[in-house]
């Protein structure tokens, strides 16, 4: 009987890229048919080899830009920068004896530089011309103004609030004692900052051994300060909100109050950070359902809030306090006016009415018996002063010295230092990441950001060591931004979680079924060809 259909079977499957070998002898295939089949298989393989393979290599090859790994590691290990802080102090005196002033200055410098807990600093004390105006030049961190006492034996040292000027009233003729007195005063001005810098640098790769030893109590204070403060951002948003549990007060003269009590504080600080401010009023604001609510204490006639309720006091679900407006983080200030039935409302443990929520903002409760519909600027005065105080804490200001200008310059140095360290450790992390994940792509933008980071870090470190602190902060800030951008490059972040085994799962489901018929058909034709090559040889032999 005829073996029918065998050829059709072979033909149909050959156009799908397969061919079947027939066990029993079918009618012989016409040479033209088998040639066609070979051509078809070849044409599929040509597409795979000539178009598919180059395309695969081209689209899945990983581009790894060269990163300066060595200098990245040097930064991470603190080898590239040893921060120290040259502080220029100018000595003005009303006496006309410039030679004596110079001696006092030189002596003061020696004493200051020999102090053990001030090893990070390098003081330069210069005697200034008394014709120079009181406004300090850019280079001077502190101006010491020596004044003759109005009466004998009157000794006084006082910092001016808005300018970095230390007024010293001292009439001692003895140069040594005068210098000691001055250096003692200067030391008290910078003592907190020295501790804080030592705290930042200590136990990091950047530590040089010159850091002051910090007592456990001081460490606690410094830790509390860092936990409270916002992470440094180049732009911050302030929101002042009035929440009233009843209908009054429904308005407040917030603009006037801000103008009087907050703006003067923001002005000098805006050299470091840009501020935007908005305000809002919300009536009929209810408590957060997550807290138990105040309890009435009959003994004192007060409503009391538990300490544990303070964290949950903010009704996040209903009060319109958006987490972030614009680019930077938002600092919230909330003034809460309880209803007349629940007034006065105080904190149970302390009896106070204001508290600070770390890295979020400040809250105050306004207990007043005679509230009109509108809170005047005068009513807001004590509230704004508290808010201002909370703001300085939230920004990470040191508690001393009392001069705002000196506190800002301290903060500049601290922030510049911590930004340099943070950018450096980001570089180190990036370098470790690229070494660990060999298959991760490194786009050119990352290499560019890393170069920029290192460049800015070098400049920042130089500026720091040469006493140009605000420029150091600027450079450090750019370095930090660039380093973060490089580390969180979106195309890399995805690949961190993409191990090589996943490639199999990507390729096999689609390419596997396509490859099987192609490979099988190709292999069969190859075997047939090899057999054909061998057979004439055996015949001729």
């Amino acid at each position: 009987m005829m073996m029918r259909g065998d050829k059709t079977q072979a033909d149909v499957s050959s156009s799908d890229g397969q061919s079947s070998i027939t066990a029993m002898a079918p009618p012989p295939e016409q040479p033209a048919t088998s040639n066609t089949r070979r051509l078809i298989i070849l044409s599929f393989w040509l597409v795979v080899a000539c178009l598919g393979l180059p395309h695969w290599i081209w689209t899945t090859s990983i581009h790894r830009s060269d990163l300066p790994l060595e200098s990245m590691n040097d930064w991470a290990e603190g080898k590239s920068c040893q921060p120290h802080y040259p502080l220029n102090i100018r000595l003005h005196s009303q006496s006309h004896d410039s030679a004596r002033d110079a001696i006092v200055a030189a002596r003061t410098e020696t004493i200051l530089n020999s102090l053990t807990d001030f090893q990070l600093y390098r003081f330069h004390v210069a005697a200034g011309n008394n014709t120079v105006s009181d406004v300090p030049t850019q280079d001077d961190v502190l101006v010491v103004e020596l004044k003759q006492p109005s009466k004998a034996d009157h000794v006084e040292a006082k910092l001016q609030s808005w300018v970095p000027v230390l007024d010293i009233v001292h009439a001692d003729d003895d140069v040594e004692r005068l210098a000691e007195f001055i250096s003692e005063q200067v030391r008290s001005v910078f003592a907190d900052e020295a501790k804080s810098l030592s705290y930042i640098l200590g136990n990091t790769p950047f530590a040089t051994g010159k850091e002051a030893i910090i007592s456990p109590e001081d460490r606690k204070i410094l830790e509390a300060r860092t936990t409270r403060a916002f992470k440094y951002a180049s732009a911050l948003h302030l929101t002042f909100s009035l929440f009233t549990s009843s209908a009054t007060p429904s308005a407040w003269d917030i603009e006037e109050a801000l103008e009087q009590y907050i703006t003067p504080l923001l002005g000098p600080f805006s050299a470091i950070t840009k501020f935007t401010v908005d305000t809002q009023v919300q009536l009929q604001a209810s408590f957060s359902p997550s807290i138990e609510g105040p309890t009435f204490d009959a003994a004192t006639g007060q409503w009391k809030l538990d300490n544990s309720d303070l964290g949950g006091f903010i009704n996040a679900a209903e009060w319109p306090l958006s987490p972030s407006i614009g680019s930077g983080p938002t600092i919230n200030f909330v003034l809460y006016v309880p209803s007349a039935q629940q007034s006065p409302l105080v904190i149970a443990e302390t009896g106070g009415s204001s508290w600070l929520i770390p890295q979020w903002g400040g809250v105050q409760i306004l207990n007043s018996q005679h509230l009109s519909g509108r809170l005047s600027a005068e009513d807001l005065r004590p509230i704004m002063l508290t808010f201002a105080d909370q703001l300085t804490s939230l920004l990470g200001f040191p508690q001393s010295p009392p001069s705002l200008s000196l506190r800002i310059s301290s903060l500049t140095r601290e922030r510049a230092t911590s930004l340099i360290m943070s950018a450096s450790s980001t570089l180190g992390a990036l370098s470790r990441l690229t070494l660990k994940l060999k298959s991760i792509a490194i786009p050119d933008t990352v290499a560019k950001s890393v170069d920029e980071t290192i460049n800015r870090l070098n400049q920042a470190c130089q500026d720091l060591n040469q006493g140009r602190f605000s420029r150091a902060l600027q450079n450090a800030r750019i370095a930090e931004d660039e380093a973060e951008q490089a580390f969180f490059e979106p195309s890399m972040v995805g690949q961190v979680y993409f191990p090589d085994e996943h490639r199999v799962a990507v390729y096999v489901p689609l390419l596997g079924p396509m490859a099987v018929p192609l490979v099988m058909a190709g292999a069969k034709e190859l075997i047939a060809w090899v057999k054909y090559l061998k057979s004439p040889k055996t015949k001729t032999a």
Binding site: M2, M3, R4, G5, D6, K7, T8, Q9, D11, V12, S14, S15, D16, S20, T22, A23, M24, P26, Q30, T36, L39, I40, S43, F44, V47, V48, L51, G52, H55, W56, T59, T60, A441, S491, G494, Q495, F498, H502, V506, L510, L511, M514
Partner: protein
């Protein structure tokens, strides 16, 4: 009019009756249901990012304002459509809507006319080296045209007015001229189709072979005419007449001619487009969009879901794989079906309709109608293969597709997998039809070579 007279009118002028009825149906639908064209224009099954009538309006607006229509990133259609449509009244008005329907009806009629002529030419049955043993079973030209004109997919696509209707019209034009042996016209028509939609480029090898086959047949007829041997007698006898090879055009030169004509036509079209527009921006916008698939709006094809899920790192690789997959069929079909070039072209159109990046039902409707050109082999697939399950799957997809899309997008009680599953069923149904037809065509060819095997069953050895 008595029924017999009506029937006789049909039998005397079947094409005129069919075209008239189809045009009336389309225009009546638009008039009776004035909301229907707008509704269909918004359907994802008909309008895709590269052919949507709505996006065309956006491009038209920018074009008429003198701006670069490709600036908005919304419009991805061929530039030469813009001057054409700017002649029509604004489609926002009742009149404009009707005019556009009339234009698309005219395109449908042109396509129908082409299909009629392809069927009449008998190119599906007879080629230079092959004569189907089933040529007496061929479907009549009027039936195939009727199937095209009254195919619900075609009617819906006509009312939804996607610009791929232009592509189908020019593809049909190209095929019909190829069946007449008008090489230059056929190549020019397929160049226009490729200019509008890119993928008809893959039909060029098949159309080239079809042209070559017809030209050779004509040449041999001319030489034989002196021997009083007519075409029909040769066909009926099934005897291979020795043909003087020297009188026939050389395949390589012929291929070079076709490629040159195609390239020239395409270059002229592109230069003409550039002259209309302020920049070359249309090239990436029109041709890179199907290549790189930036818009993942769902459609009845298989690409969109795959590339929603694909890892970004592998996206460009798999775009290449999908395109190469489509491209890989073009040459093997021509090699295997070199003796039946029209079948190669029709089957390649099927591959495109199923695997194209922005699939739509207009292309499927056109392909299903063209498939009827191979009607003489259907008995093979309907007896031995899976025609019924395939048609059932297509019907299932047609009915459930819109329902699942509604559940996902509007009702919110389904998700993307619902619609994707139905597009898989739909594509599977179409692919079964495609492979069955391929089987039948090959079996038909085999029976031509071995008449003794006719009607016998296949058995694997």
């Amino acid at each position: 009019m008595p029924a017999s007279t009506r029937a006789s009118v049909y039998h005397e002028h079947p094409k005129a009756v069919l075209l008239g009825a189809a045009a009336t149906l389309r225009i009546l639908l638009a008039l009776v249901f004035p909301q229907l064209p707008a509704l269909l224009t918004g359907r994802v099954e008909i309008s895709t990012p590269v052919n949507s009538f709505k996006r065309l309006q956006e491009g038209l607006y920018l074009y008429e304002k003198g701006l670069d229509p490709y600036n908005g990133g919304v419009f991805h259609q061929a530039p030469l459509l813009l001057p054409l449509f700017s002649l029509l009244p604004s489609s926002a008005t009742w009149l404009g809507s009707l005019t556009s329907i009339i234009l698309y009806t005219a395109l449908d009629l042109i396509t129908a006319n082409c299909i009629f002529r392809i069927a009449q030419s008998g190119a599906a049955l007879i080629s230079r080296t092959f004569t189907s043993p089933r040529q007496d079973r061929a479907w009549s030209a009027a039936s195939i045209t009727a199937i095209y004109l009254f195919n619900p997919f075609t009617v819906l696509a006509c009312l939804g007015r996607p610009t791929t209707v232009f592509t189908t019209a020019f593809t049909a034009l190209s095929l019909s001229h190829a069946c007449q042996g008008n090489t230059i016209t056929a190549t020019f028509a397929i160049a226009i189709a490729s200019y509008i939609s890119l993928h008809p480029l893959l039909l060029l090898p098949a159309i080239g072979i079809l042209c070559y086959d017809q030209v050779c047949q004509r040449e041999s007829l001319a030489t034989e005419s002196s021997n009083v041997s007519t075409r029909s007698s040769k066909v009926i006898a099934g005897v291979k007449v020795a043909v003087d090879q020297r009188t026939q055009p050389k395949p390589v030169i012929f291929a070079a001619q076709i490629s040159a004509t195609f390239a020239l036509a395409l270059a002229v079209l592109l230069l003409l487009s550039r002259a209309l527009l302020p920049s070359w921006q249309f090239i990436p916008s029109v041709y890179a969009t199907p290549l790189t698939l930036p818009d993942l709006t769902p459609n009845p094809g298989v690409w969109w879901y795959f590339f929603i899920e694909m890892f970004d790192a592998f996206r460009s690789f798999f775009l290449g794989v999908f395109w190469l997959h489509m491209l890989a069929y073009s040459v093997p079909f021509c090699l295997r079906l070199g003796r039946q070039p029209l079948a190669a072209a029709v089957l390649m159109m099927g591959v495109i309709a199923v695997f194209e990046p922005y699939a739509n039902i207009g292309d499927v409707g056109f392909w299903l109608s063209c498939l009827c050109l191979l009607g003489h082999v259907f008995e093979l697939s309907s007896i031995h293969r899976y025609t019924f399950p395939a048609l059932a799957a297509i019907l299932y997809g047609t009915l459930l597709g819109p329902a699942f899309h509604h559940l996902w997008i509007y009702a919110g009680s389904g998700n993307a997998n619902f619609f994707y599953a139905i597009t898989l069923v739909w594509s599977l149904g179409l692919l079964i039809l495609l492979t069955d037809t391929l089987y039948s065509v090959l079996r038909d060819e085999w029976e031509n070579d071995r008449p003794e095997g006719k009607g016998k069953e296949i058995r694997q050895i």
